[in-house]
Point group: C2
Chain length 428, copies 2
């Protein structure tokens, strides 16, 4: 092999970044020209724009429009080496990460940006019946389940089974849950009715189940109320104040009653990746590592923890939310600290989270937006939301492609990505 190409110089300060999500790639980006060499390790070959994942799960966007090969992002950065590999453990004393298969990679500085998965609060057997939404495969799995439910309802002659296939339950009324039910209701009410001959898809039940007292718990009351009313108008049934006590292949149990339901989606809780276990750090209830005010591990100043795997609070003592802008701010901050250290300069002031705002869409043409003093709702908020997301999408082509898919969907009422893929074969 030709080895004279773009290999980074070996004796530079070596930063290993584990995880190519928002925090990890922001850190790598912010280390441009920092005179370091970077190894970016991820078990997937793509960065995923998670805020739009629910649109893949609900047939609005195709998979390729929200995922971008990590290599491609750093094509022009000779200082960045990308490895598709899984990290199993960290040896913080020997300063090595261990890959599956046994290979060790040494680091001078380690950035752990390994994110979170959904959590079933101890009921792990629910996972098979109530998939969550974190990866491309999660999204195509949910898309397959939703579309197959309508197909099987059309095919069966058993009225109870048909009713169960036409009942959809989303557990958790945070932004993801609200966004999912909005689009599912629109699918049933507006997109699909003319395509079926034996069932009336408009009679589908779309349930949003939330243990707490309101939808969008982190939003101001007026916006929560607006979201709730808008969802009801779209045909969503909202069940507040009781946690789900059972999820099975037949349905859910709620407040002592069984609801027959063949499609359940979990949007209720997350659990951090095991990064804090790798380094023996103390962690919070969701498994996030407790970090110093420079985002480093408490015992190891050369290990940073950023994004969803770090437990960080804002000035008011409130936990920093698990959203893309927070992850990016942490990644950027870690890069600043590394840069200062490499240049033997004074460290920057402690990390401080700046909350830009909260957004959630309701169906295909409405949204709520909370920017502190400024609050929007309805179609104006939807346009704000759409422009913000298109702006933050990585890669010129994705921006155009997503904008095009949305405008197409908006003006025609069609959804463009209604593929049932995967191994599960139709049966009744």
């Amino acid at each position: 092999m030709n080895t004279e190409r773009t290999k980074p110089v070996e004796n530079l300060h070596h930063v290993v970044i584990v995880g190519g999500g928002f925090a990890g790639i922001q850190c790598a980006k912010s280390l441009k020209n920092a005179n370091t060499r970077i190894t970016l390790i991820d078990q997937r070959n793509h960065h995923l724009f998670q805020p739009l994942l629910y649109q893949v799960a609900t047939t609005i966007l195709p998979t390729s429009e929200i995922a971008w090969p990590l290599r491609r992002l750093f094509k022009g950065r000779d200082d960045v080496t990308t490895l598709l590999a899984k990290v199993d453990d960290v040896d913080p004393v020997a300063k090595q990460v261990r890959l599956t298969g046994g290979r060790d990679i040494s680091y001078d500085t380690l950035v752990l940006a390994t994110g979170a998965r959904h959590s079933y609060f101890g009921n792990d057997s629910w996972a098979a019946h109530a998939p969550g939404l974190k990866t491309i495969e999660d999204a195509t799995n949910i898309r397959r389940r939703i579309l197959l439910a309508f197909e099987r309802a059309e095919l069966t002659n058993d009225p109870d089974l048909r009713r169960a296939y036409l009942t959809f339950a989303v557990i958790g009324a945070g932004p993801t849950g609200v966004e999912l039910v909005g689009i599912i209701a629109e699918l049933a009410q507006r997109v699909l009715p003319k395509e079926f001959r034996h069932i009336d898809t408009r009679q589908a039940r779309v349930l949003l189940v939330e243990a707490g007292p309101k939808v969008l718990p982190s939003f101001p009351g007026t916006l929560s109320e607006y979201a709730q009313k808008s969802l009801v108008k779209l045909g969503v049934e909202i069940k507040l104040g009781n946690p789900v006590t059972q999820c099975s292949g037949d349905g859910i149990q709620l407040d002592g009653a069984d609801i027959g339901c063949k499609t359940i989606i979990w949007a209720a809780g997350v659990q951090a990746s095991p990064a804090s276990e790798w380094i023996g750090s103390t962690s919070d209830r969701a498994g996030r590592a407790v970090v110093t005010d420079t985002l480093t591990a408490q015992q190891y100043p050369d290990i940073f923890l950023v994004g969803d795997t770090a437990s960080v609070t804002d000035r008011a003592g409130k936990p920093v939310p698990g959203i893309a802008p927070a992850a990016k701010q942490m990644g950027k901050y870690a890069a600043r600290v590394i840069r200062a250290r490499c240049a033997n300069k004074a460290p920057p002031a402690p990390f401080r989270y700046l909350h830009a705002g909260s957004l959630a869409t309701i169906g295909r043409r409405s949204a709520v937006a909370d920017f502190g003093k400024l609050r929007f709702k309805g179609s104006f908020a939807w346009w704000v939301w759409g422009l913000a997301h298109i702006y933050f999408l990585i890669g010129t082509r994705s921006r155009f492609a997503v904008a095009w898919s949305w405008l197409w969907s908006f003006f025609t009422g069609h959804n463009s990505a209604r593929l049932i893929t995967g191994d599960e074969k139709p049966k009744v």
Copy 2:
């Protein structure tokens, strides 16, 4: 359920079409206003534009741009009921098709358009190592294998393993094989080099293996020679005149020699679906049912066999090729016969295949086109090919989306659909 909607009238002549490929949907389309009711059954929810499947396998197009929900195609046709179901058998005496799960559907006329799968000529164990290309999952599987091979080559320190990961073999030099190697060679030579740090992707070996004496066997000699020269220029190694004698996880065996190779793609042969077995028909070597000159089963005039599952010859006695235009002509012809019968009119003249032409692309900017007297090659042929395929794509949005993806890829040299998805986890 509301039953007053769009259910077809029960006492109309009932045409059951099995298979939503080119032949099946053309038949349903051509039966518009024929005063029949149609049930279209497919085990997938989408029509697949198979001629472009190789572009999904090679990262040029995302999956959603070449597949279209069957229901959507017939949304406005109240006479068409679409069922997502698998047919297991046909009872030609009781005039019923049996679905998986045991449900029977009665027909007055049956159209079997169930297509073909790839065939390993008796070496079925090769399937695991040398996947073929017929479904969306086949394409994403091959895409994953190609992209993972580069990733694993980057990750390993073993030079032999690295060489095997950087060797790609496509078996069969018909249009699909030629199209696949062209794009794989371009990926290695032009798209990927700047993204890897430890390997030089330009040193990848891309092999095209053909048992016969030339590439594109069905094309005129001048175009075959042109294709061969163009492929060599793109960096493809062409091995003619010997069949592959072994495919395994380590590579292929050819002319007595082992070639280490981690990615093998099968483009060498097809086998018809079991439709002819269902009805006890005689069939040819590839399992295609022998049909009458009106495309009906020899014993059952109310059963049509169309597309890749029918053995049909043209006027010169040559087998009709397994390509989309041939399938469409058969589907259309079957509809004409059904229409004539329902109207008690004289049957149309026997089916006659009209060969419009043959096209194959070579890499991203060249092609060969054979329209009998008119023959084109090079970039002009590529534009002819591109416009023809965009024209025939179903659905306005897909046309725009595909055109956009191609122009993007053409002008920027980027490939837009480089996702590794699916369950296989990285390992070295």
